[in-house]
Every structure is written in C-alpha cells, then in structure tokens.
C-alpha cells in the first residue's frame, strides 16, 4: 500500500480523496495555488505546498511543479481527481517515468479512450454498440456531406478531442452543413488545438445514462450499475440519480455487459465510466469513456456502500477486484450546488460566503470544501457543494432532497439551489419522465418577479 499520496486537485474532490486516505492510514500532500491558500484541502492534508499563481495553467496544470512536489515530499502516488490532469496521458506517463504511481489508468488507456474516433473504432471491433457514424475522421466539407447523407440527418458533428460540449454541432440538413462545420472546427481548434472532426447519427431526445465500471491490473472488470445524468444544461450535468427511472433490469444487464466489454477491450485499469445515449426504444449507443472518478460517483457509493476512491487506491496498489457486479440497494439523487445565478442564465457568481448552514440527518450526505467566510475564487469551476439524498424509493429520495435544500442556507452569493428546488417539484421530473432535452423546455420561475 502507498505511504503518501499527493492530491493533484483542489476543492471538494481534493477533500474527498484526503478523507479516504486518512481512513486508510495513508499520508496526504495537498497542492494549491495562491488563490486557494484558505481552502480546506490545504488544512486537512498532512502537508500542503503552494505550486503557483491562480491561473490553472501555472498551478493545477503545471506538471513540472506537481512532479517536483511529489519528489520533494516523497509521495509514492498521485491522485488526479477529476478535471485538470486527470485524463492527461502525458501526465500519467511522466508520473510513471518518475516512479510515482498515477492513480488511474495508464497513458495507453487514456489515449485509447480520450481520442473519440479511436475509441469508436475499438468499440466497433469489440461489438459494443455505437451510434452510426462516419468511418473515422472527415477530411473535407464534401466528404462530410456525403457521410451525413449516408447516415441520415440529423447528424452530430463532433471534435475528436472534444469535451464539455465544445466543438459539437447538431446539423439538421445539408444547407446548414458548411456553416456549422466551419464554426465547430474553429471552436475545436481554439479549445483543444485539434480540429479533427467526425460525424454521428444524432439521437433525438435521448437519455444520458452512464455505467460505472472498475477494472484491476489482472484483466478483471465489473460494473456498478448506472447513473442517469440526463438533467443537463448545455452538456453540464445538474442532477444525477441512480437507479435511472428509465432503467429496466434487462437493459441494465445489457448495458452493464457492454460497458464491461468496452473496458476489457483495452484491459482497462482503475475505475471508469462508460457514457451511453439511450433512445426511447431503449437502444443504447456508446458515447465515450471517462477514465477517472466522476463528480457524481457519490450516488453510486450510497446505493452500493462502496468507497470508490478507496477502490481506486486499492486497484492502483495492485489489489484484485471481486468478480461480481453491484446493483443499487436504494435510490440516491445528487444535486450539484453551483455558485451560479439560476434566474440569470446560470451566470457564475464567485464571491464570499457570508453565512452557511448545511443540511444533515437521515439519508443526507454533503461533500463540500466551503465554509462560512470562504471566498470562491473566480479562477476555477463554480461547484461549491454536492448534496446527496438516499432513501428506499425514488419518491422518498426526492422528498428528502427537497427537505435538505429547504435546510440549506448559503448567503453572500447566488447558487443553483432554488433551481433544484423547482426541478424537484416538476411533475415530469417527479414521474421520471425526462430526457436530455428536459432543460431546454424547463422554465425557471424567478420568485422575485
């Protein structure tokens, strides 16, 4: 087992990892930028080292600084959390070169899954259903139009290096092809320094359902059932739940098997997530694999009673996973509380939290790095807390979450909590009747108007 783990991240996920390390008796090293001096992860780690100024490129993405800290503190492993360097193949390689265990998959796994066109090919070769699409990358507008005709409109144009909704366009007919092609390529070039594009059939009103998997160094892979992440706005997840209200036992079995196949295809090591689109006929299509812990991993933990960060560490240390799959024993919902104004187009609202009261009691879990007086830096993402409600049924979990949001008080900044309260009262949501289109039609009522 590792003696000391460096956590190459910040915010709630850094705190999350420190907690599990403490429980496992592993020492921790926090890194932080000058903007995060007063962060809890800095306080709760055994050691903390300032690695650079506020901009991520000079701190949380600064590979030489992070490796230096690992060497200076004698850390024998690095946990990258999510975001930042968590899916950076070069970082995984440099860790290995320096004799530091990267807690996550290898450089090769990240490359195989990070490049979407390659991932699609791997899936086809291994019999994992993917959306019909172009055979690899598209060179020219003309090629694209031909392929789109073959697949059938509407189609989705995607950047192979894409993520977070950038470099993506839905194209509904040939007339708008060229215009959208140019826009998407420019965006991809600016965002990822890579403007290679491919095409997929666009699934109308799909469910975004992902399967959590875990694989060990010996080729064993199991799945931990699904999470429904269809409640999203501009590809940003707002609320996740497990089990999915759209799931059937048969579909779970089939999707679980497909996810295991996908992971086994590349001998995947670590925890990971296969994201699928599911159409109204319950046909499902592999979208991509996230080769890291997800923001929403907590709901899977709550219904399986596993600690996924502990699983990551155990797998990285060479432990074998059990050969069984895990199924939800309860219902869990997560609301991401962001420092954003839901009545103003979810505009980010960094600032100081002047008053804070967190919910508690039966079935409520809170993961947060904020406290009364905490100043939210404008440099990083706006998520300030994850609230998870667990109960025996979906209806109970919804009512428990509403109770928790009622107790939650965050003063000094605007948050998405009022939006979540409205969402949980929506009749369609309560009936489990939603797809990824849900937020396009959802009207947020400003109580002050």
């Amino acid at each position: 087992m590792f003696n000391k783990i460096l956590i190459a991240n910040r915010g709630e996920i850094a705190l999350r990892i420190i907690r599990t390390c403490k429980e496992m008796g592993i020492k921790t090293v926090a890194i932080y930028s000058t903007a995060d001096r007063d962060s809890l992860h800095v306080r709760f780690a055994d050691e903390a080292v300032c690695i650079g100024p506020a901009p991520s490129a000079q701190s949380y993405l600064n590979i030489p600084a992070i490796i230096s800290v690992a060497e200076l503190t004698n850390a024998d492993a690095i946990h990258p959390g999510y975001g930042f360097l968590s899916e950076n193949a070069k970082f995984a390689r440099i860790c290995t070169e320096h004799g530091i265990k990267f807690i996550g998959p290898t450089e090769e796994h990240i490359n195989k899954m990070g490049d979407k066109a390659t991932a699609r090919k791997t899936m086809i070769a291994n019999g994992v259903p993917i959306t019909p699409g172009s055979d690899g990358l598209i060179a020219t507008v003309e090629d694209g139009k031909r392929e789109a005709m073959r697949i059938g409109y509407p189609v989705m144009l995607k950047a192979t290096a894409g993520g977070g909704g950038k470099g993506m366009r839905v194209i509904r007919n040939e007339e708008e092809f060229e215009h959208l092609w140019n826009a998407a390529r420019q965006e991809a070039a600016a965002s990822f320094a890579n403007d290679a594009m491919f095409l997929e059939k666009f699934i109308e009103e799909p469910h975004h359902i992902e399967i959590q998997i875990a694989g060990d160094q010996y080729g064993n892979v199991c799945h931990l059932s699904e999470r429904d992440c269809s409640i999203q706005r501009r590809h940003q997840k707002l609320l996740e739940e497990t089990p999915s209200p759209f799931m059937t036992e048969q579909l779970r079995h089939k999707m679980g098997e497909a996810a295991i196949k996908a992971a086994k295809a590349i001998k995947y090591e670590g925890v990971g997530t296969c994201e699928f689109l599911v159409d109204k006929h319950r046909n499902f299509y592999f979208m991509e694999m996230n080769t890291r812990i997800q923001v929403e991993h907590g709901i899977t933990e709550e219904v399986t009673k596993l600690d996924l960060v502990k699983e990551q560490i155990m797998i990285a240390a060479g432990a074998k996973i059990s050969q069984r799959n895990y199924y939800p024993q309860a219902h869990a919902i997560e609301c991401r509380i962001n420092a954003e104004d839901p009545f103003n187009n979810f505009r980010p609202c960094p600032g100081q939290i002047t008053g804070l009261h967190l919910p508690g009691g039966n079935g409520i879990r809170v993961d947060t790095h904020v406290y009364t007086g905490y100043k939210i830096p404008a440099n990083y993402d706006s998520m300030i807390a994850k609230i998870v409600a667990v109960a025996q049924t979906r209806a109970e979990a919804i009512d428990k979450m509403r109770r928790a949001l009622f107790e939650l008080v965050i003063e000094g900044i605007k948050t998405t909590a009022p939006f979540h309260q409205q969402l949980l009262e929506d009749p369609n949501f309560r009936e489990g009747n939603y797809t990824t289109k849900f937020m396009e039609d959802f009207v947020i009522k400003n109580p002050e108007e």
């Binding site: 000391k4 403490k22 008796g25 007063d38 306080r43 903390a48 230096s68 200076l72 406290y371």
Partner: protein, 170 residues
Amino acid sequence: MANLKEIQDFIRTVSKIGISEVDVQTDDLKLNVKFPVGEIAAAAQGGDAIQFPYHMQIPSGIAQQMGTPVQAAATATTPIEFRQEAKEDEKKYLTIKSPMVGTFYRRPSPDKPIYVNVGDEITKGKVLCVIEAMKLFNEIEAEVSGKIAKILVEDGSPVEYDQPLFLVEP
C-alpha cells in the same frame, strides 16, 4: 497637557468602538482622527489586523489539526517544513520570493562558490541561487538592487511557490 502616550491610548481605545471620525479641541489640545470606513468592523471586533483571513472565518481549531493524521502509525515521518513566515521587523525589506517549487541551492554545484552572502551588494539581474525542479537547475536572478539582509532558506531545502527566499535592503 495630554502627552503622546495618552493620545495614543485614547486613539487605540476609541478605534475599537467603531467610529469614523473624532474631533477634539480643548484649551491645550486639538485632535482630529479619521478611521478608514471599511476597516471599522474589523477593528471593532478585537482590534488587531488578522494576517490570514482564513483564521477568522473558520474555526481556528482546524488549523491546529494540521499534521495530526488519523493513523497514529503514519506520523513516523516528519512533514517537510516549507514556509517560514516573515517577522514583523522584516517589513522594511524587499522580499525575493521563489517563482517555482523545487530545491533551493546557494551555489551552482557543490564545488563552486556560493552566489551571495548576507551583506553582499546586489544589482538587478545578479544570480542569487538556483532552484532545482525535475533535474533542471533554474537560476534565480535579482529583480531589485540593494544589500542582502537575510537569507531565509537553508541550502538544499525544498521551497514552494511564492516562498520568501531573501530579504534585500533597498
């Protein structure tokens, strides 16, 4: 007549009450004091400026818990002492801080002479030390001119970003 000590005590005391301005005129004294508006609340709360706003806002006990790992067994190795806070009397000096994480060396290699000593006059651009990070030795140049007043880090010690390395008397 009121002496300076009395006036000073007077100002210190009234500053804690939370006022913005006081004007006193007696036969032998004319006194006007203005308090900066934003700071009044802090002053009223207990007088002193607090260096790390963190400690005001979160229970200070959290800070005390640093370095108390849950597993008693894990305390065997001592965490590296990175930062030494600048002391009060060092405020008149200019501080040269580390631009990166790494190991601080006062000479380019063990067989070469030390770059600078306390008392040395330095000019802008003079190399003061090297910081090793990932086997690369980065020369750190002075951005100010003056006299080295203090060297804050031991040769061969780890340093973090923004850590004070030298005090320079301008």
